[in-house]
């Protein structure tokens, strides 16, 4: 039963996480494939961003069959959407959207009159809009009537390419070209036709979302695996116990002449059956977990990366199969030692009394040896590399090492206490505790891992939260932030704002996009102002950073970008611009938490000079704080549709914080689940051990201890063990925090947070561990306290 439950829980957590990842990845693929069809190739602007439509015409006139796409971010109300402009007449047949060509009414409507805006039913629901509605975008452009189309990618609104250019205010611009299935195009031909303006990529490479979100998913996978490991501890413990219990039967069977391989084969069949039952139950549980966590994951991914994840879980056979394979692998791993023992089992064996002490010492030596091996592996992983995988390997191996070492440490502690104890019951308590370690150790190891993970992740998240909040305070200094609908509107608003008495500064925050080494990069302009020079947080900077930045050819680089490009202060950086590469000197490095893209900060004038397509619509305004509300009101009344979005500082901060909270909500949920699983493991172990415990306790009871006394001791022992695990978990958790902060975060996101400690969290975890132990021990101990004497007397029964 425990075996089944453990395996099912392990499989559930693992497959739940896998389901989430698969769902997200499918959605990314769907987003790309919905337009271009799976696979195939496409052309992108070589320097990132958009390119001229003329290039498309040139290619087509040269006989290259391509179909244009323009994509851009927009908003309807407060919901982010992606506008996708397609050209249905030339879309390759493989594109799912090309199916609309088969429906005359749809195609006619799309290409005539005001056109149509296709959105998947899910997207319509999310926008809370009905078919036929014509909402306005933040730029004040009215969409064509919305029409439901199942093939439309999630989170996107598909319109005609010309409509997209109008909605996104990008006349004559395209973001990519999809090559028809059989279009012959090689680099040489591309260069002949389009010069070096475009680059040819496989459609799969383009999934920027997949790239940006990789680390997010690796995180999830790592936690899923951690949970799986904890589950495996249970399975292993349960199987070991079951094996010990049936050892006499196995001996008898061997004595009756059953060959060892046959026994193992029979046991393997049994394991296979377990795998199916438990794996199946696990898959159902995994589905439920994924279903429960999906909305949160979807919102995290949306707010972090703008990725739209379909919220109706669809899973394929591959997912189910992988879950079963994991369950099977887990079962085999857990049962391997039993199989090996069976193979070695001699047909005739003297029923020797179990030499507990010798076995105990062997057990401790083995644990210590494995712990050492795991520790060495952790050190190797640390030395080996600084990547995400090695970071997780360090964490994994050190958790394992600590877990394996836990019984040794507990045994040592108990031996020491035994020597110090005088009262006979106390001495028995400690001595007997040592004996119980091996039975409880797997559950305790699971608890240790779960507690350490809680401390580790909790510390990282809390550290991040504090750093992030401080950083937001420093970064968001302007009182008002607004985004104009169009650059022209921006000019109008700017001109008006200049005359306003409440305004002390107008800070254009224009943005452009480029790509360095294939990585998407934002370039943000800054004007010379005290807002920046006095507040803008920098990690490293040249002494004259602000003067230098506004002088010439200087940039500030975000921490993650600097790390990725391997640049530091004083390095020269070649930035692809609209015209040519711009060589600039790095004068400062700034933290840019939560931004999946790289960011460069440059002088406002230089941005204008180098980037023709810089979107000049974002602004910060310094307004006297008490006038802010009135000012925003004024501005909205006056400009209305010309303002795409306007926020005051606190709104922006709370939005950012909310995104942050969501990001870690899933991590926290998985963490809690892991802890619950380890609690279940402890409970299961105690329950299965309680029969054995009676045999140990009955003589003491017979010698004159009360049941209540003994039950209390049992409880104290479990609690003490849990406390021991929690105490060991604290330094381990701190180490894990350090690994997450110094290795994993750096590799995954590119930023390094200061390492902080949160003792109240430790206390919480300690209390949680005690509570978990008490809860887990409650039933077995209560059973003992109320055991009828006859129950205990069975131990002495001669006819047993």
């Amino acid at each position: 039963m425990t075996l089944l439950a453990g395996l099912a829980i392990a499989t559930a957590l693992w497959s739940g996480v896998q389901a989430l990842n698969a769902q997200a990845r499918n959605s990314y693929d769907a987003a790309t494939a919905a337009i271009s069809g799976g696979g195939g190739r496409m052309l992108l602007a070589a320097r990132g961003g958009l390119f001229e439509q003329d290039l498309f015409v040139k290619l087509r006139r040269a006989g290259v069959e391509v179909s244009p796409v323009l994509e851009g971010a927009s908003r309807i109300g407060d919901k982010n959407i992606r506008i996708v402009g397609v050209e249905p007449v030339s879309l390759p047949r493989r594109s799912p959207i090309a199916h609309m060509r088969k429906r005359a009414d749809i195609l006619d409507d799309f290409l005539t009159g005001e056109g149509r805006a296709f959105a998947s039913p899910q997207t319509l629901r999310r926008l809370d809009l009905a078919e036929g509605a014509q909402p306005q975008t933040e730029r004040g452009r009215r969409l064509p009537p919305l029409t439901a189309l199942a093939e439309a990618p999630p989170g996107a609104i598909v319109v005609d390419i010309g409509v997209a250019q109008r909605l996104l205010d990008r006349p004559g611009k395209l973001s990519r070209l999809i090559l028809a299935d059989d279009a012959a195009l090689d680099e040489a031909r591309l260069k002949r036709v389009a010069g070096d303006a475009l680059r040819l990529v496989a459609a799969d490479d383009d999934s920027e979302l997949a790239r940006l979100t990789d680390s997010f998913h690796l995180n999830l996978t790592a936690f899923g695996f951690l949970a799986f490991l904890v589950g495996l501890f249970i399975v292993h413990a349960a199987y070991g116990l079951a094996f010990e219990q049936r050892l006499p039967t196995l001996r008898t069977l061997r004595a009756l002449g059953v060959a060892a391989p046959n026994l193992v084969a029979a046991m393997a069949c049994e394991i296979a059956a377990f795998t199916f039952v438990a794996g199946g139950a696990g898959l159902i549980g995994g589905y439920a977990i994924a279903q429960a966590l999906l909305p949160n994951v979807a919102r995290s991914l949306e707010s972090l990366y703008g990725a739209q994840i379909s919220e109706s879980l669809t899973l394929d056979a591959r997912w189910g199969l992988s879950g079963l394979v994991m369950a099977g692998a887990g079962a085999v791993l857990a049962a391997a030692s039993g199989f090996a023992k069976t193979m070695r089992l001699p047909p005739l064996s003297v029923a020797r009394p179990i030499a507990w002490r010798a076995a105990h010492h062997r057990y401790l030596r083995r644990q210590a040896a494995f712990a050492t091996i795991a520790l060495v592996a952790a050190i190797c992983a640390y030395d080996f590399g600084k990547g995400l995988a090695s970071g997780f390997a360090v964490i994994g191996f050190s958790l394992l090492a600590a877990a394996l070492f836990l019984p040794v440490a507990l045994a040592g502690f108990l031996a020491l206490s035994e020597n110090l104890a005088h009262r006979p019951l106390a001495r028995w308590f400690f001595a007997d505790g040592r004996q119980e370690i091996s039975g409880l150790s797997l559950a305790l190891m699971a608890l240790l891992v779960a507690l350490a993970a809680n401390i580790g992740v909790g510390g990282m998240v809390e550290g991040f939260r504090q750093t992030f909040t401080r950083w937001l305070d420093a970064r968001l200094v302007a009182e008002v932030y607004f985004e104009a609908a169009t650059p022209a509107d921006a000019r109008d608003i700017e001109a008006w704002a200049r005359g306003q008495p409440d305004i002390s500064a107008i800070l254009p925050v224009w943005r452009a996009k480029t790509r360095i080494d294939g990585w998407p990069i934002e370039i943000v302009g800054m004007t010379a102002h005290e807002t920046y020079s006095a507040h803008f947080p920098l990690i490293e900077a040249t002494p004259d950073v602000w003067t230098a930045l506004h002088a010439q050819d200087a940039v500030l680089v975000s921490e993650q970008l600097a790390r990725r490009l391997g640049v530091g202060l004083g390095s020269a950086l070649d930035i692809p611009t609209s015209r040519r590469d711009w060589r600039a000197r790095v004068v400062g490095i700034f933290p840019d938490y939560g931004n999946p893209k790289g960011q460069l900060r440059v002088d406002h004038e230089e941005l204008k000079r180098y980037f023709d397509d810089a979107s000049g619509v974002h602004y910060g305004l310094r307004v006297s704080p008490d006038a802010t509300a009135r000012f925003i009101d004024n501005m909205q009344r006056r400009f209305d549709g010309a303002i795409a979005r306007i926020l005051d500082q606190s709104e922006l901060k709370s939005m950012s914080t909310e995104i942050f909270e969501r990001t870690f909500a899933v991590t926290a949920a998985l963490n809690t689940l892991t802890l619950i699983v380890s609690g279940v493991a402890l409970f299961a172990s105690l329950l299965t051990l309680s029969d054995m415990r009676q045999a140990r306790i009955a003589p003491v009871w017979a010698l004159g201890a009360t049941r209540r006394e003994l039950a209390a001791l049992e409880m104290i022992r479990v609690v003490a063990f849990a406390a021991g695990a929690a105490i060991l978990a604290t330094p381990l958790g701190l180490f894990m925090t350090w690994c997450l902060v110094a290795i994993v975060n750096v590799a995954a996101f590119g930023w390094r947070l200061p390492f902080q400690m949160f003792p109240t969290q430790w206390l919480m975890v300690f209390l949680i561990a005690l509570c978990a132990a008490i809860l887990a021990a409650l039933i077995p101990v209560a059973r003992l306290a109320r055991a009828a004497p006859t129950e205990l007397l069975k131990v002495f029964s001669n006819e047993r």
Binding site: V57, G63, R101, K102, R103, A104, L107, T112, D160
Partner: protein, 368 residues
Amino acid sequence: MNADRPTGSRERLGAAMSRRSALILALSSTSALAQGFGGLGANAPGFKFPQPGTPLVFPKDHGAHPDFRTEWWYVTANLKGTDGASYGVQWTLFRFALEPNSARAGWTDRNVWMAHAAATDAGEHLFAQKFARGGIGLAGVEAAPFRAYIDDWLLETRDDSSGAGIERLRVSAGNGNFAYALDLTATGPIVLQGEGGYSRKSDAGQASYYYSEPFFMTEGSVSIHGRETQVSGRAWMDREWSSQALAADQQGWDWFALHLDGGVKLMLYRMRSVKAAPFFFGNWIDADGATSPLMRDDIAIAPLENMHIADRDTPVRWRVQIKSRGVDVETRPLNPRSWMATEPAYWEGPIFFSGSHKGEGYLEMTGY
């Protein structure tokens, strides 16, 4: 085309643009229009309609007429290679206005262009199709100097031409499997069909503007699966534009464009209806360009042999008779599998004929 079947927009476009469809369009009854094909099936207000007595003006009318709903430029050529083999080539460009006032700026332009191209020899029939939106320079037709294009497929005035007409053209098209480039040189005048180019299609008053240049001599090269051959021969160009639609009971048609030895050109077709007896129409064009319409009783067209092509029975040999002219010939295709698996799909390919007269030409069959 089977009009009983609900058709997709593109097929509908295709039906309307299949060159001879305009003829059928002209013959369709007004009641059929009311049966509702959606946009193109109805007499859409806002489009212009052909008016009798309107003289065609060249070179202006070689160009596009965006006030009209459908329009096409159609070239077929019967060729002989230096290798002694026979070849056929088709180049077709269609324009469809989705809405009146279709000529607009950029992506708001409401014209969709479609092109079909094919190269045929006795063993192969290779074809390709292209679609393009108007307004942004992917496809279009300019009158003078004449230039029709869609992507890299061209039908345009040759560099060595001085005139503003269509006397000296170059046509080219292809995909990865085939390609051709031919010089077309007119050896006879443009032929105005019907009443000075106003081609009446039904008693109900439906009509199209229609002219042809059947007197092209041509030479150039055809390449099939990378094997290029120098070729020469005769070509025929049709031009037609209108705004009217198809009949609902129309089942399909069989259309012949024949070069008779001696310089006479003959255009004939049979329209098959699910309701009525087949309808015949024809035009006898003398070597000097003089035309004489052929009355329906004068024409007999009958299939002699069917073949199973593209999952359907398609006639491949025909008996064609024109009693008043003593014509009684049997046609046979250069390649019976000249199936255009395009949208819409139809049979179109070079044919030979013999009997009372000898010669070559092109056959188009739809609705099988």
